[in-house]
């Protein structure tokens, strides 16, 4: 049942708490930096004014970097999720495929994907394909395991009912299992989304010609702490926006489930 009561619990001020927390952090930044009481030197802790100046200096580079990073994130999420769901469904579909692929996935999964960066550099250099492969792989490992586990949790009664109504295995996978697991996939997808940003920045650290991670590393070399800060803020905003839209999309897809908003 949809319940508005839980949202209104504790009065209307609750919805302003989110805004308040952002303001608190920003206020601390102003006060602690040389814009305010100057607790930390500007070299280590650039004040907001300098960071805003960095925006005007970087100009279109800022947009290009954001665009490049976002492109890699979206590619990794879309391709990694599609592959993870596909392989996960395929493995639940057939016992031989499960028996063959499971040991490979299980032995690869605990290895931090970041540890593979030098390997990808060795094979693919700093080409785009290496970075895309890295993010895709990171998303894939999360999604494939979550898919298999979520399918195990789908009540058998739905599958049995579908069979007695004449559904083939293919229909059962597309029209029963796939929609049935969507609520359980929201958590893994959000985790994967956060990991995607981490992996893209890590890949950009290792070698790139554009991207927020690349710009942050370049700023360290050129001794531009305000640009480093700007990059961090940019990543924070982008990651929150992506998480917000992911939740909106998944909320729409699972609108039948009556989960708490």
């Amino acid at each position: 049942m949809k319940s508005k009561a839980s949202n209104e619990e504790g009065g209307s001020y609750v919805k302003y708490l989110g805004i308040a927390s952002v303001i608190t952090v920003f206020a601390f930044w102003v006060v602690a930096s040389e814009d305010g009481l100057g607790w930390f030197p500007r070299i280590k802790f650039p004040p907001p004014t300098e960071v805003f100046t960095a925006i005007t200096v970087l100009q279109e580079k800022l947009l290009v970097d954001a665009g490049v990073t976002v492109g890699r994130v979206i590619f990794g999420m879309v391709v990694g999720t599609a592959l993870g769901l596909g392989v996960g469904l395929l493995m639940s579909f057939s016992k031989p495929i499960m028996a063959f692929l499971n040991p490979i996935i299980e032995s690869m999964r605990p290895v931090p994907v970041i540890a593979m960066i030098p390997f990808f550099l060795m094979w693919l250099g700093i080409a785009e394909s290496g970075k895309l492969l890295l993010v895709t792989l990171g998303v894939f490992t999360i999604i494939v395991v979550s898919t298999i586990e979520a399918i195990r949790n789908v009540p058998r009664i739905y599958v049995n009912a579908a069979k007695t109504l004449g559904a083939t295995k293919r229909v059962i996978h597309w029209r029963i299992l796939l929609p049935a697991i969507t609520p359980a996939m929201i958590g893994p997808l959000r985790v994967a989304m956060a990991l995607t940003f981490t992996l893209v920045v890590a890949a950009e650290f290792m070698g790139a010609q554009a991207g927020i991670g690349y710009r942050i590393l370049e700023a360290r070399r050129l001794f531009n702490p305000q640009v480093i800060f700007l990059g961090i803020v940019e990543l924070g905003i982008l990651a929150s926006l992506f998480d917000y839209f992911l939740r909106k999309i998944m909320g729409y897809i699972t609108r039948w489930s009556g989960r708490t908003k």
């Binding site: 049942m1 009664i157 739905y158 049995n160 009912a161 579908a162 069979k163 007695t164 109504l165 004449g166 559904a167 083939t168 229909v171 029209r175 029963i176 929609p179 049935a180 969507t182 609108r255 039948w256 489930s257 009556g258």
Partner: protein
């Protein structure tokens, strides 16, 4: 095949489902148990048959055998003379727990059977319309199951099973989780639906009154091992009104079944 809604579903004596010396044994940690012991049963075309008995009498096992979920240890299970192997569209099941797909609207649920069987679109639309209206759910075609009550979801479940046009409809204590008023209402609706449209229904229940109200024949089963104690024909006609429940004949049948169950040790 379920006949269309002209009420002409002529009763015949052709057996649709046959169980011949059907035996099912399970291995459990505490040894082997015989869930079904040499059961012989013929279910006729357009017959509403109730399998009735206490827990452990094998009624659900028998239904699962007919559905194709459960293989026999020995004996035969036949549909129209052919061995039953696995579940398919010839036998739709309405389960006790909620099996309506929550991610599909009511109409999509009812359309699932004919859609999976690749029926033409006009036929699917017609079936959905027909069975939503026969189950009094026509106003809820675009609702999500989450928005419905338990009783309404049961109606959707029955409409979905009927719209799939199976050879045999299997119902496994479909009203077991509902309160008694809702139960009586749905029993009445189901019997009316069947009187209207026909179909061969195997209905499993532990509720004596439900079995008498719904069944043309009641197969009384007893536990340990699960077998048939007696098959009782019920003669209340095709269309049944609610007030037969309190009639002397009804109560007499009820008493008879209770005595039978006491004799066989199923009722202490």
């Amino acid at each position: 095949m379920v006949r269309s809604a002209n009420g002409s579903a002529a009763d015949s004596t052709r057996p649709r489902v046959q169980l011949k010396d059907a035996t099912v044994r399970f291995k459990t940690q505490s040894g082997e148990i015989t869930a079904l012991h040499e059961v012989n049963l013929e279910i006729l075309e357009n017959e509403f048959i109730c399998l009735m008995g206490p827990s452990g009498c094998g009624k659900t096992t028998a239904l699962n055998v007919i559905a194709g979920f459960q293989a026999l240890t020995s004996g035969q299970a036949l549909l129209d003379g052919n061995p039953i192997e696995g579940a398919d569209a010839s036998r739709a099941v309405v389960f006790q727990s909620d099996a309506v797909f929550p991610w599909m609207t009511v109409a999509q649920n009812v359309a699932f059977g004919p859609t999976s069987q690749n029926r033409p679109k006009q036929e699917i639309d017609r079936l959905v319309k027909e069975f939503l209206s026969l189950t009094d759910m026509q106003g809820f075609a675009d609702s999500w199951p989450m928005q419905l009550s338990g009783g309404m979801r049961k109606r959707v479940d029955i409409a979905r099973a009927y719209a799939s046009q199976p050879e045999v409809l299997l119902m496994d204590e479909p009203f077991g989780n509902l309160d008694f008023i809702l139960k009586e209402t749905l029993q009445g609706s189901l019997r009316d639906l069947w009187a209207n449209v026909g179909g061969t229904i195997v209905f499993v229940t532990h509720d004596i009154e439900e079995a008498i109200f719904l069944g043309d024949r009641i197969v009384v089963m007893t536990p340990r091992p699960g077998k048939i104690a007696k098959i009782i024909p019920i003669d209340f006609g095709k269309v049944r009104a609610d007030d037969i429940r309190t009639s002397p004949e009804f109560i007499a049948i009820r008493r008879g079944i209770r005595e039978l169950m006491t004799e066989t040790g199923a009722l202490a």
